[in-house]
């Protein structure tokens, strides 16, 4: 936990909440919170009727029918409601100012520097029950930068952060103005250049070392590079290459003055816009040693590469357009494929993402999951695809994605079944903080009121 909830921070949150979000102020969390009487869908197991969730200091400590509620707990009676894990949007650029930097290769960029806590996007996340957002540069790139997992409350990026960025964005599909070949050539060359860079750096370090020791150089550059490799310190590596190194080497051990420094390894979210990109993405990941930490972000017709995907057995993020349509050029007949079904049948770990904002339905993760159920995917699997699966992909399955003791208390109170389109999000708890209450959602109420002719506030 990078972020500790201090009283003053919570106060700030409260102020921020009432000011900007129009949602319920995030109050300082009481030590103990109990949600009683609701139907609990823990996702990790069978639903519990009229169960209780007990939260202590932002963590879930007990879930079940016969949980004793301590006398000092703040109790919310949620009888007749449904308690659901906070949902996770596993792949979005929203929350940043722009989707992508103009330059094609920007591994040094970090979503941290572009996140804007005041964006209405986060307010919408709360309203729809999304409590974890993986904000990462968009797909119009070659290497885009590092993402970050945030919660949609907080005044600063640090407050919002659930986890440091652990993934670099890479696109196997050409960015605008690139053709496919150029895209791949650039990717290949980026890693070749990294080798050159490290070699030169090693040489430089070796020379520096000799100078320090006031020795004269007695070997040629090739040998110097070999010897210098051990001398590279963490601070010698520039921003541009640090993340590439983390991506490629996993844990990179470099000797520093205070002993060896460990770089945390980075994984990658690799975007494959078309089926043909899948094999290329897998190859790039394999060639550069980050395959085991790769999540594939799929576009429209990627299900065609299901054989490759199955072989790769990496988690996949599905396109927000769940049904892929294509016209047979000969007959004019439209072929429709429900993508999640293909992926599910291949036995892959998959996550759903919300659609664009202008689609009222598809921007709800619950709707996306409901579509899956409608097309024959088991309900449990569909629910996991918006909660536990994305948590697993992000390496946060010990903290998020289900209602189990020990996990962070990210909970959504629905008025009915989450996959029922008439259900609404009534309350959202994030780390035990009551972060959203529908009754107090001023903006939503204004939208729903008869005075709808008032000028609407611009959504971003």
């Amino acid at each position: 936990m990078l972020y500790t909830r201090l009283g003053n921070v919570a106060c700030l949150l409260a102020i921020f909440g009432s000011m900007a979000a129009g949602a319920v102020a995030a109050c300082p969390p009481p030590d103990k919170v109990a949600l009683t009487g609701g139907r609990i869908i823990p996702v990790s197991g069978a639903p519990i009727e009229q169960g209780t969730v007990l939260i202590e200091r932002g963590k879930i400590v007990a879930v079940g029918k016969d949980v004793e509620v301590p006398y000092d707990a703040r109790v919310f009676d949620v009888s007749g409601k449904v308690v659901f894990p906070g949902m996770i949007n596993v792949h979005t650029w929203r929350g940043m100012d722009i989707p992508n930097e103009n330059r094609p290769v920007t591994p040094h960029l970090d979503a941290r520097d572009a996140l804007d806590p005041s964006q209405l996007f986060f307010e919408d996340c709360l309203r729809l029950g999304t409590t974890g957002v993986h904000v990462i540069p968009a797909n119009n790139t070659v290497i885009g930068g590092v993402g970050r997992v945030v919660r949609p409350i907080g005044m600063t990026v640090a407050e919002m952060t659930i986890a440091e960025g652990a993934f670099l964005k890479i696109s196997a599909t050409p960015r605008r103005g690139h053709d496919r070949m150029l895209q791949m050539a650039m990717l290949r060359e980026t890693f070749l250049e990294l080798d050159d860079y490290l070699a030169k750096l090693a040489e430089k370090r070796y020379e520096e070392k000799l100078k320090e020791d006031e020795k004269e150089i007695e070997v040629g550059p090739a040998e110097a590079r070999k010897r210098g490799r051990e001398l590279i310190r963490a601070e010698d590596i520039d921003d541009q290459h640090r993340n590439l190194l983390r991506l490629r080497g996993g844990q990179v051990r470099v000797e520093g003055e205070d002993g060896p420094t460990l770089f945390k390894p980075l994984g990658a979210f690799v975007y494959c816009g078309n089926a043909m990109d899948v094999a290329l993405a897998v190859k790039v990941a394999n060639d550069n040693g980050f395959f085991a930490r790769t999540v594939l972000v799929l576009g429209g017709d990627c299900y065609k590469a299901v054989r490759e995907l199955k072989q790769a057995a990496r988690p996949v993020v599905l396109p927000s357009q769940l049904t892929h349509r294509e016209t047979n050029p000969l007959t004019g007949e439209v072929r429709e494929t429900f993508v999640p079904k293909e992926i599910f049948e291949a036995g892959l770990l998959f996550a759903l993402v919300p659609g664009p904002d202008d689609s009222y339905a598809e921007r709800m993760l619950t709707y996306q999951a409901a579509q899956c159920v409608r097309h024959g995917i088991p309900r449990d699997e569909a629910l996991r695809a918006i909660t536990l699966n994305p948590a697993k992909m992000l390496g946060l399955e010990k903290r998020l994605g289900s209602i189990e003791p020990g996990k962070d208390a990210h909970l959504v109170i629905f008025s009915g079944d989450p996959l029922d389109f008439t259900s609404v999000v009534e309350k959202v708890f994030i780390d035990g903080i009551l972060a959203y209450e529908r009754e107090k959602d001023v903006r939503l109420q204004r939208l729903l009121s008869s005075e709808a002719d008032q000028p609407q506030e611009k959504a971003e």
Binding site: H178, L182, M184, E218, V219, A279, N328
Partner: protein, 487 residues
């Protein structure tokens, strides 16, 4: 594949004891489980067909047997094992899969910058089932895919064997992803004559720069050798000096001397620092390493003859420019498109530059621009002059457009091209041009089983492709081709 040997042995054992019901049982069980494997293992024999081998021979009523993806026997009396699946093809023709020497089939392409490291194989959409099937329906089983932008150097072309649904062995279907370095030279559309000069000069400049790059590295390596030699000398000298000193001044404290050695060393240079440093500066300067240029390295492979250079050029003036550049840098050149090649046929023959004709048939009306010199009998003129001519379907205008390779070549014959040499140019010889003649292009023992069964001679009117095998696997069957018919 681990299952396959046991499968075979099971079958052969039971058949040996003549226990047919058991054999059937065993077969039935295995068929379900390992039918794809079985297809690989069980030989297939196409019998009674007229075989056009691709290298000019015709075998009447011949048999082709293939197994495990390769052709295992060809001839009038090729032995057919009792296990083989037999295909009766009396009255039909069998040819090697046709090879399209220049095709943009399923190439997802948007012209971009000038670079040599891009690979066409990255741009080939292996899932473009409709397009791939359209090619198979015309008997085309392998294509050369260029990587090329509108002008300048584009990247590395690939030779890909076609299959409508990619399998796990897709890599095997890419015969080479570095078939040639692609480039285009010439004025586009309404650009003036100077644009032509500029385009040629740009290409020349790239090669020149590549040579300079190599020179820079060679110089550097030479300097480096010198430098390293001097380093060794200096180290020796130093060691001698040290020895001499040690002799002069025997150790103070025996073993303890070692510990102190560094400090002594450090002191030592301090004493005679001024003189030594001057020497060092004069003698030992580390040479600077030139910057890596991977594009230039690809061009150098062309200059060294490791990689062929394929240039699209149309206007005869452009072609002459390219010839000059190729000669200057000793590049093995192939011309593509080349609608004006017949006007410089003698020069092409003299320099032994092959030509891939891939432009669409030219209309009767005059069209300004690249194709204005096109004429239907260009192939015949070039061949008469002694130029090696090949055919490609070029840039296909739509995803459903088939590469009508056989008709294209038949038309060239109608315009005077040697009828006997025609089929070779899209089979055996094309394979040679692409450097894959040991893999595909002929109906020959040991080569890949890429075969087409035609209803008639491939150039005959109304001839249709009935079945296509790629790597021994049936990838097209006219009877199950719903889209190929009107029902």
């Amino acid at each position: 594949m681990t299952n396959s040997p046991s499968c075979v042995s099971a079958v052969s054992q039971s058949s040996g004891r003549n226990r047919i019901p058991l054999l059937l049982q065993v077969l039935g069980c295995w068929l379900v489980a390992v039918s794809p494997l079985l297809a690989q293992v069980r030989p297939v024999a196409i019998q009674e067909a007229t075989i056009l081998t691709g290298d000019g021979r015709t075998i009447e009523r011949g048999t082709v047997v293939f197994q495990g993806g390769k052709i295992s026997a060809v001839g009038r009396k090729a032995e057919v094992s009792f296990m083989a699946k037999k295909i009766q093809a009396a009255g039909k023709y069998v040819t090697p899969g046709l090879i399209d020497a220049h095709s943009t089939l399923a190439l997802r392409f948007a012209p971009a910058g000038d670079q040599a490291t891009a690979k066409a194989v990255d741009g080939f959409d292996r899932y473009a089932e409709d397009e791939i099937r359209a090619a198979l329906r015309e008997g085309v089983t392998a294509i050369y895919v260029p990587s090329r932008s509108a002008s300048g150097i584009g990247g590395l072309g690939a030779v890909i064997r076609l299959q409508p649904r990619p399998g796990d062995d897709w890599e095997e279907f890419v015969l080479t992803d570095e078939a040639a370095l692609c480039a285009a030279v010439g004025a586009q559309g309404s650009q003036g004559p100077l644009a032509r000069v500029k385009a040629a000069e740009a290409l020349r400049q790239r090669f020149r720069a590549a040579k300079e790059y190599r020179q820079a590295w060679e110089d550097y390596e030479e300097d480096l050798e010198e430098y390293e030699k001097k380093l060794v000398e200096r180290a020796k000298k130093k060691a001698q000096e040290k020895k001499a000193e040690e002799k002069k001044q025997p150790s103070k404290k025996g073993t303890g001397g070692k510990k102190n050695a560094p400090s002594r060393d450090r002191q030592k240079p301090d004493q005679d620092k001024p003189r030594k440093k001057d020497e060092k500066k004069e003698e030992l300067k580390k040479p600077t390493e030139p910057k890596k240029d991977r594009n230039a390295e690809v061009l150098l492979r062309v200059i060294d003859g490791e990689l062929r250079l394929r240039v699209e050029a149309h206007h005869p003036a452009d072609i002459l420019n390219v010839l000059q550049i190729a000669e200057e840098f000793n590049a093995a050149l192939i011309l593509e498109g080349a609608t004006g090649a017949h006007l410089v046929a003698d020069r092409l023959a003299e320099l032994e530059v092959p030509v891939v004709l891939s432009a669409p048939p030219a209309p009767v009306v005059y069209v300004p621009g690249a194709g204005r010199h096109a004429r239907p009998d260009a192939a015949a003129i070039l061949r008469e002059a002694g130029v090696d001519v090949y055919f490609g379907s070029g840039v296909l205008p739509s995803p459903t457009a088939p590469p009508q390779l056989a008709l294209r070549v038949a038309r060239a014959v109608g315009h005077g091209f040697d009828a006997d040499a025609a089929l070779e140019t899209i089979t055996f010889k094309a394979a040679g041009l692409l450097g894959v003649e040991k893999e595909i292009g002929r109906v020959k023992r040991g080569l890949r089983a890429d075969l087409v069964i035609w209803s008639d001679h491939p150039f005959a009117p109304g001839a249709t492709v009935e079945r296509v095998f790629v790597g021994g696997r049936e990838v097209y069957h006219a009877d199950s081709d719903k889209e190929g018919r009107d029902e």
